[in-house]
Symmetry: C2
């Protein structure tokens, strides 16, 4: 065995990363490190660098001035160079329990942490991730509880004209041939996202595992759709188009995806042990997915009993491009006349969509239409969407 | 709708990538571009850079001199700076059909292509990927054929003492409650890899979809195990350990994983529509997984009828650390006495394990023990492992 181990070490050291299956190339730099005192240390090896910074949502936010106005963005901290060109920064504060994302910037280049193998893709950006355990963040970690199964499933979309992929979470104990049937929650991503988004940045499988295991949520099937109807699946799982989306994808937020939703529900009901009725169906989504959630709920008022709009990309008016968006007020009245169990709205105080959501709620207030609202700190960020999902799911199917 | 689109554009431009759900930040640089003449163009925006190179297996390999000896590595080409700090390189040759991986190097920093959203993780390295279509590479792409389902499933490992994750491919048309039962192929990764490796770099789901659709392979269930028994699952799916593995993982290649294999087979047979007998079971693996394949096949000679060793990390002797590795010759004789349908070996001419594999085959030749061998160009690389899987799978269960 010694011989084999030495062979491996020899082959892997000094050989470029990907043609050989490189494991141990480069210096051993540990990053990030969660220190015992609750601070976190970040390191990056860049011997020739002039300036190295780390940017992430573990730092206090800062306001960024852009030609389009002021926006809230993640804070930035400078690393200092130490031995062997390893740059380092340790927070001067205890990092609160949460899941965080960060990137380094080395002389103007944005980089992920090449010593941290937990990398998430969100739309067209890759970031490094870590969790400071404790509190709500424990919902986002793998705990010693029964785990559900996450499947990547293809369905034949008549609306799109080709097969498309979605992700399906079945809870621990799910038996595809058993007698137990489950309610279904449909979870929608934001613009540019895909069927992986909620499972990566959203930690949805962990949230569901943990809420179900603790009895806070009912066991349920959860379906993560791909809301870009022109797309088959996430990057690398498409027949074409690996490159970065250069602008809003075709057929986004113009009604086609929403119109296709019944075929998704039909597919799930045909292939999983669902309770195939309104009382046992919920839908929610973030940003564009919140917009989709609203219009799907209004246009198919007999389909979902629970709807959750997370930082929803809604305007009270202005959607006139397809029949799905027409006659909004009448559809809203019809929707409420059918007495849905829950319309839930979550928004951050500094979200650029805050006013749109407040306006929408004012409209419902004026009409005596009931909803629940959760307001959080911060803006249009994944931290809020994980919180909203964690708050919404326990309210379902009770 | 105009209003909403403008809001999005405003929110996403100029705001840092990950706290906001950034989509359209930075310049629009298209990379990689497969040109009509069969060349490929790579671009990277780095206005301050002094030197930018691209390294990848689309370039002719080069020999790298290391303290451990000479190794074959991917070639390197220089980009030239153009407008707006966008560096560019176009191959001066037609790139042959294949799946390729590449990274940029900007003034000493290895970087993925931030304009290409198809990124694969292999062990502790991230690389950008693209496919030049045609020929064998068409097996690796999403074709207009029925697609199987890929599930991430947790099983209770008595040997490990905790739940562990594996990936399961069920072929198109698989009905968990139907009458049709399927043979099962177990596919094992290399050292430092995990249950995602074959599905990312290995394109195993695409290879299976395409071979099954064309009738070249029988429909089968395929199980991708995690061979690091000290680990629950891939990075980010573990309860601990997001950082880069600093050395060989504990309990690697010392028999524990191999000893645990029957519990995996038992779990799969209990939960899927398998044909639960030797005639309908196959196992294969790359590098460390080839080593595992050999010892599992020898120690459980009634379990698998087909075994595939891809660039297997074997030595003819020297494995004495656990009972699994003892009495090799006697076990080999017993294995062959039970007349397995196929022992298949694939190795690249420049693989650092080439001699070990040649020696092993010489030993079998001396004993009159039958096997099939495929020798390819190149070394210890994913291109070869995709080829070996594509060649091995059509031979199974016939």
């Amino acid at each position: 065995m010694k011989k084999i181990a030495t062979l491996f070490a020899a082959a892997f050291v000094g050989v470029s990363a990907f043609a050989q299956q490189a494991l141990w190339g480069g210096a051993q730099v540990e990053s990030p490190v969660i220190n015992e005192d609750g601070t976190v240390t970040f390191r990056y090896q860049a011997p020739k660098a002039v300036k190295v910074t780390v940017s992430g949502d573990f730092l206090p936010t800062q306001v960024i001035d852009t030609p389009f106005g002021k926006f809230e963005g993640p804070g930035v901290a400078e690393l200092k160079e130490g031995k062997n060109g390893v740059w380092e920064y340790t927070t001067d504060f205890k990092v609160a329990p949460e899941m965080y994302n960060y990137t380094f910037n080395v002389d103007g280049l944005n980089l992920i942490d090449n010593n941290n193998m937990w990398v998430n893709r969100d739309v067209a950006s890759l970031t490094s991730a870590f969790i400071m355990p404790g509190g709500r963040a424990d919902l986002y970690t793998i705990q010693d509880v029964p785990h559900g199964t996450v499947s990547k499933v293809w369905y034949d979309s008549a609306v799109a004209g080709f097969d498309r992929r979605l992700s399906v979470y079945t809870p621990a104990g799910y038996n595809p041939c058993g007698k137990t049937r489950y309610p279904v929650l449909y979870v929608l991503h934001g613009i540019g996202g895909d069927e992986d988004a909620w499972l990566e940045q959203g930690r949805a499988a962990q949230i569901l595992d943990n809420l179900i295991a603790s009895g806070q949520a009912k066991p349920m099937i959860v379906v993560f759709t791909n809301g870009n109807i022109s797309q088959e699946a996430a990057p690398g799982q498409n027949s074409t188009g690996y490159v970065r989306p250069t602008m809003q994808l075709p057929k986004t937020m113009e009604g086609t995806f929403e119109t296709s939703f019944p075929e998704i529900v039909k597919f799930i009901d045909a292939n999983y042990k669902t309770i195939a009725k309104k009382q046992s169906r919920a839908i929610c989504g973030l940003s564009m997915g919140g917009f989709h959630t609203l219009y799907i709920s209004l246009n198919y008022p007999d389909m979902f009993n629970y709807s959750g709009m997370f930082s929803a990309a809604i305007g009270v008016d202005g959607q006139q491009m397809c029949p799905m968006y027409e006659n909004f007020d009448a559809k809203l009245a019809t929707y409420f006349s059918k007495k849905p169990a829950l319309l839930w709205i979550g928004c951050g105080k500094t979200d650029f969509l805050y006013k749109s959501n407040i306006d929408f709620m004012a409209k419902m207030d004026a009409n005596g239409q009931p909803y629940k609202y959760m307001e959080t700190e911060g803006g249009h960020i994944w931290r809020n969407w994980r919180i909203y999902l964690s708050e919404f799911v326990p309210l379902l199917f009770k």
